[in-house]
Amino acid sequence: MTTLAKTKPKLALYWAASCGGCEIAVHDIKEKILDVDAAFEIVFWPVAVDFKVKDVEALEDGEIDLCLFNGAIRNSDNEYMAGLLRRKAKILVAFGSCACDGCIPALSNTTSRAATFDWVYRDSPSTVNPDDVRPQEETEVPVGTLRLPTFWERVCTLGQVVDVDYFVPGCPPQAHQIWAVLEAVIDILEHGKPLPPRGSVLGAGDRTCCDECPRTREEKKISRFVRPHEIIADPTKCLLDQGIVCMGPATRSGCGALCVSVGMPCRGCYGPAPNSKDQGTKMISALASVIDSNDPDEIDRILGGIVDPVGTFYRFSMASATPAGLSRLAGRDREALQERTS
């Protein structure tokens, strides 16, 4: 990174509201990181290189060739960086489940900011706060005014605030897939090959997690659902066949079926299956085909065994789910957004 040829394509990596797992995953490509360094001029990568926002602001629009953006959007700082990097980057990639679909942080969209604050600052058992002090956007102290940012009521995906060129799913994206994407981009940039169609999902398969699963599926009919800790599952048979809700049928392939290979059901981190925008409805239709009843009451009883359908079917895609999309606000109606989040 210190001996830069000016002709190298420019690369930026950034995180917004994220856990850092995507950054660790990038480091998991290990020594190939040196190939990335050889192929690109890294102009912004806070976890590894000391360039600042003002350095990015000083770039020409479109000067960054590729930006991998991870993390969800949940405050105005995140939104500012998304807008800035959109302007500066020719290719903007939503990298990882948070940027693509909201991931675990978007489960926050099932509750409210007020409920969150009440619990954290007033009701939690370890909190001692007799005066009900709450964090304020501005606090006067003897030496001056201290300021905090405002948080949005909702967690949004990157694509809900700016236009996104490509999507790389996964929580986190697996190292071999990250390398496959970077290798493809290097090839495109070096040899002038055409880019994939805008909006494509990269670094993942075009089938479902079930297609990668080593377990044997017999499409058995289920008369009762069980939770993962309630049975010792057969290690070779399909978990769904054994009554454990497994998101495999509704989830895009690409991870290599990691969780199901070690005895745990898929929870859907690679996002909606191809040709499906809503992971939950896809899962419901998959379940409908395995329930062993035609009687509506019996079907209700069987489905009642799924204790948290919303939090399970939309575990990783609450922000991009259709019900959220119907009230989609970010990037479309700025005033409404600010009204709802202030």
Binding site: W15, C19, D77, T116, V120, V143, P149, M264
Partner: protein, 491 residues
């Protein structure tokens, strides 16, 4: 009054900010460390099935996801009143020990190391991991990359994924070790032990052999007297996975030793209006504001605090290094006298790294480790449970209350870095007061010396505020009272 805002917006993007106020003479009048984010896991986990918590809360932090996964799994065991099979417990601790070694390696070499190897006042373009490679050679880089890869490989074998592991559930683990895998783990563990020795060598050659660094470590601006918290085994030795939480006072006397389930009897949290992160303190001491010393309620839960709170290490190489640590810094190798120099935390972290590596091998060669007795099934009605581990950055507590179906009703979390919120704030302020003086130009090197005060804590804002730990590049703006920028320094 002049305000200096240290806003690491380039690195942590609004997730951590320092406001320093200078009086008319140019001395530090006051200093605030502000944490501007809250993610709200405790609220949105309500309504979720408790057995999913190991896989949900791992997303609090992708850097120490293993800590949250295992604290959650232990809380789940407790909710269902389960005693997991001995082999399952050993497998969890095996994975966790390997993770710990890799995590400490990351901090020592990539985040903190450049301050010492390259130098606290070196140009920021060189003061990073690449500068380290340049100075120490590609062989060192390969050794560090190799050790981290070995640790990650063990996590992947046992956890299913190298980031966001999945295999712990109420009652045990879903993945064991076969003999072939065990041999791989043993080879990786042996590599980690060699790496631990190598790291001690780097520490000796680069840091301790340099009188200027020793003086810096021992200097007053980097010293605060806090109580110390850490998890200990039945012999009061450091343990990361399980044990009792022990707290010793500033002089090394035991204040309390409690079961993690009783944490509410001993820890409370204070709220300030100017930051989203709360301030834990010892209940019996009470909240007395930002004061250190014997009457303060503030405690640290860091590698340094864990060594202070324990009587020693449970493995031979680590115990030898523990004794050398205390012999050098207090003159008493028993460790009965606590060390309060914040920068000594880096050395304590190396002691822990050696222990983690030794513990990994110890467990990988345990007769029981390839057992297939990995799970018990729940038979009792779920109620309430607490799970605790030592995260690399401090004691981590998950507390769940469920209904009779095991659906979460209430969730309370006290995470590693949060324990240290008060001490981090005070360490930053004291360092700022020590390095910013009237008539002294605020250079990039000065800023870095303020950074070093919190970097020693290896603060995980992913956990505490859901940003990412790392070397924060600072932008310091010296503003006139009307907001005009008088001077700017940064990197």
């Amino acid at each position: 009054m002049t305000r200096i805002t240290i806003d690491p917006i380039t690195r942590l993007e609004g997730h951590g900010k320092i406001d320093i106020f200078l009086d008319d003479h140019g001395d530090v009048a006051d200093c605030f460390f502000i944490v501007p984010e809250l993610r709200g896991f405790e609220a949105f986990c309500v309504g979720r099935p408790v057995e999913e918590m190991p896989r949900i809360t791992s997303r609090i932090c992708g850097v120490c996801s293993e800590a949250h996964h295992l604290a959650a799994a232990k809380a789940c065991d407790d909710v269902y009143h389960l005693e997991i099979p001995s082999a399952a417990k050993k497998l969890r601790e095996l994975l966790y020990s390997a993770f710990f070694a890799g995590d400490h390696a990351t901090h020592f070499f990539i985040l903190a190391g450049p301050d010492f190897v390259i130098g606290p006042d070196a140009p920021p373009a060189e003061r990073n991991i690449l500068g380290m490679i340049h100075k120490l050679g590609i062989d060192v880089a390969n050794t560090v990359i190799g050790a981290r890869a070995a640790a990650h490989e063990i996590v992947k074998i046992l956890g299913g994924k190298s980031v966001h592991m999945v295999t712990s559930i109420p009652g045990g683990v879903t993945k064991g070790l076969d003999e072939e895998e065990r041999q791989q783990v043993v080879a990786h563990a042996e590599q980690l032990i060699e790496f631990g020795k190598f790291t001690v060598g780097i520490l000796n050659d680069v840091v301790l052999a340099n009188p200027a660094y020793l003086e810096l470590i021992l200097s007053d601006p980097y010293t605060n007297r806090f109580h110390s918290m850490g998890t200990v085994d039945s012999d009061n030795r450091v343990n990361f996975y399980d044990g009792m939480v022990r707290v010793v006072d500033v002089d090394g006397a035991e204040i309390v030793k409690y079961h993690p389930r009783d944490y509410l009897d001993h820890v409370e949290e204070h709220v300030e209006p100017w930051t989203y992160l709360k301030f834990p303190y010892l209940k019996r001491k009470g909240w007395h504001g930002f004061e250190d010393g014997s009457e303060s309620g503030l405690y640290r839960a860091t590698p340094l605090a864990r060594l202070n709170a324990a009587d020693g290490m449970a493995t031979p190489l680590a115990q030898a290094e523990y004794e050398r640590f205390y012999e050098t810094l207090t003159g008493d190798k028993t460790g009965k006298t606590p060390v309060h120099q914040t920068l000594a935390t880096h050395w304590a972290r190396v002691v822990e790294l050696v222990y983690a590596a030794e513990r990994t091998l110890e467990l990988a060669t345990d007769d029981e480790i390839t057992s297939t007795d990995l799970r018990v099934l729940a038979t009792e009605i779920p109620t309430e449970g607490v799970g605790s581990v030592e995260a690399p950055r401090g004691t981590l507590t998950h507390h769940y209350v469920t209904d009779e179906r095991g659906i979460l009703q209430r969730v309370n979390l006290i995470v590693g870095t949060t324990n240290n919120h008060g001490p981090i704030s005070m360490s930053i302020k004291k360092a700022a007061q020590g390095v910013i003086k009237r008539g002294v130009e605020v250079t990039e090197g000065v800023l870095n010396r303020i950074e070093m005060a919190f970097r020693a804590y290896d603060p995980c804002f992913a956990c505490a505020t859901h940003s990412v730990p790392g070397e924060m590049p600072l932008v310091v703006r010296v503003r006139a009272p009307d907001g005009t920028i008088l001077a700017e320094a940064g990197r």
